[in-house]
Symmetry: C2
Subunit: 266 residues, 2 copies
Amino acid sequence: MFKVIGERINTSRKLVQAAVAERDADYIVADVKKQQEAGADYIDVNAGARIGHETDDMKWLLDIIQPIVNLPLSLDSPDPAVLEMAFKRVEKPPMINSISLEKERFDAMMPFLEGKNCKVIALCMDDAGIPDCPEDIQDRAKNLVEELNKIGIPTNCIYVDPLIQPISTDSNKGIMVLSAVRSIKAEFPGVHILGGLSNISYGLPERKIINQTFVAMMMGAGMDSAIIDPLDQKLMATIRTADMLLSHDNFCVNYLRGVRSGAIKS
Amino acid sequence: MFKVIGERINTSRKLVQAAVAERDADYIVADVKKQQEAGADYIDVNAGARIGHETDDMKWLLDIIQPIVNLPLSLDSPDPAVLEMAFKRVEKPPMINSISLEKERFDAMMPFLEGKNCKVIALCMDDAGIPDCPEDIQDRAKNLVEELNKIGIPTNCIYVDPLIQPISTDSNKGIMVLSAVRSIKAEFPGVHILGGLSNISYGLPERKIINQTFVAMMMGAGMDSAIIDPLDQKLMATIRTADMLLSHDNFCVNYLRGVRSGAIKS
């Protein structure tokens, strides 16, 4: 089954930032509840946008969010000190968002991750920047999986992010990442593949049809997780439909339930 | 680029049958023009439904359709005598719909196809019935490609139809055909893959979202043609978007043109 990481609680979003600045807990509670009802599997929490306030903002957000959800959280920060504090405040093993091969980030994150019971998002990014061919992506994925395995993170707890890039910048960005995902899944069948889906449509009009079409293609290639807005009903319907088509929905039970509830419609 | 074979001129459709029975040329002309405008690459013509009238109905249809389109036609009949007559009436090398491995059909079609300048739809069907595993589909595809090559039909003129089957009958029907398509394309990179797309959603509600999601997955796996209704605007928009994502649309020109014309919208 595809895992949806709800992206909405992020202080780079204007209304969330305002709610955090004003300590408006009701706004946060309502948003998180909506994400949960819409079918999120993880709630991402990112408090990085208000410079100098990340620790306090993250603490405040977690203290509000943890009591009201049964879902695990995705702790979204590049700062291991913030993550250590956050890790102690969550009830279920969280997703850690994220490690990469950029030297500074890698060196900071590895000691934090060692021995932790968590899932990890592993970005295929290094100090040379974003990858520009499938082999590049695959090499970085391999490197990340092997390094994480060494510190006790099993392959099935790793969510490789191949870095979906805008098709508007280069026509080959779609087939590049599709091909990389197939190779990574062939080499590490147990690894998960996650993507920042909406990047694909950056700079183009009518972005939703691009995101819907691409998520179906990527799921066919092996992507089984994404950081998205779970309130995007058509995208969620496409994901549920794709799950059915990929044999993750015996007797189409979830699909039919989605149709009956009105969540899935053509 | 994906090739769309417009399926509407088929006497098994009630209004088409009535128009053919009454020799209502205006109805046929209008329908074909709509398919052409909507972006069909071939117009399929099937006159099989009125028993005893196939030859006359096919002749009448071709005499009306040929003068008004620039597109090649897809001649849709199991009867080589009908196809011989039809082949002489078309201006551009047609698609022949279809050959299969069913002995009677195979033996009848091979002499007709030998030495002809045409495309051929090759159904992965034999006398044992529809295939029930990816290897079955792949074996039949290989058999068809090799036999057709022997009589002078080059691989890039062959459109293998892996027989898309309803997901409602078995959860594995989607991954079965996806896996088969990948294997066939790996073995014969030049071959085309075509599908009767709407079969996937047979028996389920809200069929359009299933068809849209599945066409994107199948295109990601290598399907590059389908027999569909080109007037299904959302499906056509998904196909155009998928073509862009698969690097068949430099600088997103076709996509942007589609958005401007209103044909592509989220």
